[in-house]
Symmetry: C2
Subunit: 543 residues, 2 copies
């Protein structure tokens, strides 16, 4: 509808309207920063000119394999250059990138392959067995495997499949990119553990990914030429979209496959890393590293951390090492972080403990977001900003998913009321800062990975002796949380040993999802029979 | 058209799609930076909470006056807080902001009022006579005047009109904003001197303004909490959109109505200004300031400069003062700057003169732009990157205007070939950096203001003794360029004195547009009779 009195000739045209996409950043970087180093892995360094060529070749090779716009191309890779190249190479032929968590069990991987209708999967040699096992479990057409060998890390090519370098060598570095026809087109499909047993496929659009890069660069005050270290897995919310952001800044990504303190310290010192993102557990690992694993550096490293509030000890220890820490918050459904605990300059004068308490909050919305609030779970009205009244975090903004793939029911539920319902419980302080008081009730976060308690419960329920069960998070110094199973036995059944129970789950689930603690007791229930997980969490916490 | 195999439920909804608009930055700033100072003018300081309230009241008061979405609200104001408030207050009631150059003559102002169908105009008391004279010239319905008094600058209220503070006091600070229904809706209408006599109305959209703010913040490496000084007039391309950007960064704008070296130095020192934009002439004014007009400061001031390449002497002098200078390039049609002379870190080691030569180029595209190139004027193909072959700068990106208001013919010409044709002549260097070699051929830039030579020529032609004329730029140390008129007299006519000619133009044109030099001679022409301005420029240059 026309807004002004006369809009003749004021339509969109190819000069003034270009679908937003982070692919534009790579095209620009080849022009603006052609000789700057874009990617570092061991002694392999690629300039932006080279990265552009490699990504273009990947897209060209995929198209030659018959990949059409809208097709899904998966990866089963750790943080190695190929997965970053796939972030550009897959969408630039119009396809949708599906990065699969390498820690998943074969059954779940098979589910994802089938649900996503993945046509091709790039598999790191280490994860070939998982991919092969998953494919063996499939009824539908499996994806074709392209193997990504990493001999430097001890994973040489198996020889069974086309190897990644050979594959992209077949591509044309002058291949014409298929930029999105519409910025609402999907760029990625990320499967996330929800409260239901099967993972849901979060569909992200080019527009949101582009705006994530712009808002993050602005608010994290990155500046040009950052030296970024991959700690957040690129298969996790596309590494919070940082890979897509780097070309806009002429930044360098250093890949860290080995997530030990020693490797991280070595990278920070050798590459003068300026920025990374990671769960607080990563900071704790660095703080508690053995002297021989440390490496000296004298610059500031900017860290954004998410998944759990960093403890005062973590902040203190990290700052002593030379890290500047900020907590952020988000979900796979929001492309990663959408709130940030921006530090006003006057916090610097607060007593340390008070400042740490401020920093333990998830803060305020990023500039690419429209409105993030905490609302009463019944009335859906904003809770008072009193730091006490709890409500659910709800999110509106352009970095929110299109919805769940092939799941309009879950999509409608998530967007009920006109905002994305995070399921996370929080309070809002008088200064507007949000603080999470309770995790989304059924999710356990272990080592930065989401575990659906319902999925674990479903597996436990398949044990012949189990009558009823509930799985909650047990606080854990190393992992943040681990799954703790409470079980009611069937009448007359003999209690299996905890080891038996754990072995039973291990046969069906990825290792990190298996309970680390098993407790037999009657489960507390409401008058309507609903299990009171809140009570169980108190017990698990007191263990 | 669906991209993926199944897109059921993946549509846009109010949670995941919000029209892009810089108004969102102000809404966020009230939440994130409520107590930070947003605006400083003399001893008047407004926090973001206050700025948000004042802008909302302005929008509310305009709506109560009958302003509807799509209506045009004009300003005739220098750099004072009211014009910045209008940048938010006008669009937040759905209206379109039309900031008029205060240096224009009454006839042109009348033309703009009528062409824009302006309903209301905010007029600084100093410019009341111009507004009144313009309104007296109008045949159509004139805009209603709201007077913006500035007693601190010696311009108290006339008492004839509603005063701005009284006007916004009638507004409701809880007024519900009318955010754009579509991000393609117009946010501003800026009249620019083109090659034709009458100014053209450049229609800018909310989407482009938002993306300008994000791209500028990212690439200028601004960081949070900048202290910005208004030097570029806010009536000029909306001050390069910097006013819209500041709330995203919690930045402070200091208003500088008095553009003397003394006032600028005083503001830099008192407010610890970190950023401003302005033509090289401003830097020259500061470099050449008298000792008593200077004020000491010991921080770095980041300056982007446009309109002409800064000379080596300018860069050297500015750097000695503590300024970090970067040249940018753009047009009103592109919301301001769309290329930037990004300084790679290795320029720091170049010999000074070589570094200055690099910095005299307009550089490469900003990250919100898609493609800026130099193309051959005939073949429309990119020129070789040899630093020698000239062509026209053509621009594609999301910070490009919708088009010219009520001028589909000029719009179609500007976008012919699928990119915006800048009319500026440039070469492209091997490193991709663009260097302008010739100004858009008919435009004279004097003191940062565009002067249409055709407009001046049309006025000269109205003199009874003038047969033919051409106006070109004459290089000028103080103003950059001044208009130089070449005249052929009518047969038998007596040559008027240059003073006569200048007085004739002054009766019709703003003072800055009047020729400073008048030369009588036969005009050089091509075989087809076209005047060879190129030859005249050589003569003017040699004067």
């Amino acid at each position: 509808m026309a807004q002004m009195a006369d809009e003749t000739g004021l339509d969109k045209n190819p000069a003034n309207f270009i679908p937003l996409t982070p692919l534009s950043h790579l095209a620009r970087a080849r022009d603006v920063f052609p000789d700057r180093i874009a990617s570092v892995y061991h002694d392999r360094r690629h300039s932006y000119r080279e990265l552009h060529a490699r990504c273009t070749q990947l897209g060209s090779a995929l198209a030659a394999k018959g990949i059409k716009p809208g097709d899904v191309v998966s990866t089963l890779c750790p943080n190695i250059p190929a997965i970053a190249e796939a972030h550009f190479g897959v969408p630039l032929c119009g396809a949708v990138l599906n990065t699969i968590n390498t820690r998943l069990d074969a059954d779940t991987i098979a589910y994802i392959f089938a649900h996503a209708e993945a046509k091709i999967v790039l598999v790191d040699s280490q994860f070939l067995p998982a991919a092969q096992e998953a494919i063996a479990l499939m009824d539908s057409t499996p994806p074709e495997i392209i193997e990504v060998a990493d001999p430097l890390a001890g994973f040489p090519a198996s020889g069974e499949y086309t190897e990644y370098e050979d594959f992209i060598a077949t591509g044309d570095a002058d291949f014409k990119w298929h930029l999105p026809d519409d910025e609402w087109d999907a760029i990625s499909l990320n499967y996330t553990s929800g409260t239901t047993g099967r993972p849901k496929g979060v569909v992200c659009h080019h527009r949101g990914a582009y705006l994530m890069t712009m808002g993050t660069a602005l608010s994290w005050e990155i500046g040009l030429y950052p030296k970024y270290l991959t700690i957040v897995p690129l298969f996790h919310c596309n590494g919070w979209n940082h890979t897509w952001m780097m070309p806009s800044l002429g930044g360098q990504i250093t890949f860290c496959r080995d997530m030990t303190a020693k490797a991280i310290f070595a990278a920070i010192a050798a590459e003068k890393i300026t920025h990374f993102g990671g769960a607080p557990i990563v900071l704790n690992t660095l703080i508690n590293a053995k002297p021989e694993d440390r490496a000296a550096f004298d610059h500031t490293v900017n860290v954004i951390t998410a998944g759990a509030p960093p403890s005062p000890a973590t902040i203190k220890g990290a700052e002593a090492l030379g890290f500047r820490v900020m907590q952020v918050y988000g979900l796979t459904e929001t492309y990663g972080h959408v709130t940030e605990c921006v530090e006003p300059d006057d916090w610097a004068t607060l007593p340390a403990e008070e400042r740490y308490a401020q920093m333990a909050r998830v803060g305020v919305q990023y500039p690419m977001m429209e409105d993030i609030d905490v609302v009463d779970q019944d009335s859906r009205k904003p809770v008072p900003r009193d730091g006490k009244t709890i409500g659910e975090i709800v999110i509106r903004g352009n970095a929110v998913m299109k919805g769940y793939y092939k799941n309009p029911k879950a999509t409608a539920e998530a967007f009920e009321g006109g905002a994305f319902r995070s399921g996370d419980i929080a309070v809002r302080h008088p200064d507007g800062y949000i603080q999470i008081t309770d995790r989304m009730k059924d999710i356990i976060i272990s080592g930065g990975e989401n575990i659906s308690s319902v999925e674990v419960e479903n597996t436990l329920m398949s044990h012949p002796a189990v009558s009823l069960c509930a799985v909650v998070a047990r606080p854990d110094e190393q992992w943040g949380e681990t799954p703790c199973a409470f079980i009611e036995l069937k009448d007359g059944a003999t209690a299996p040993t905890p080891e038996d129970i754990i072995a039973h789950t291990r046969a069906h689930l990825a290792g990190f999802k298996c309970p680390k603690t098993v407790i037999y007791q009657e489960l507390p229930k409401t008058s309507t029979g609903k299990i009171q997980k809140f009570e169980l969490r108190k017990i698990a916490k007191a263990l």
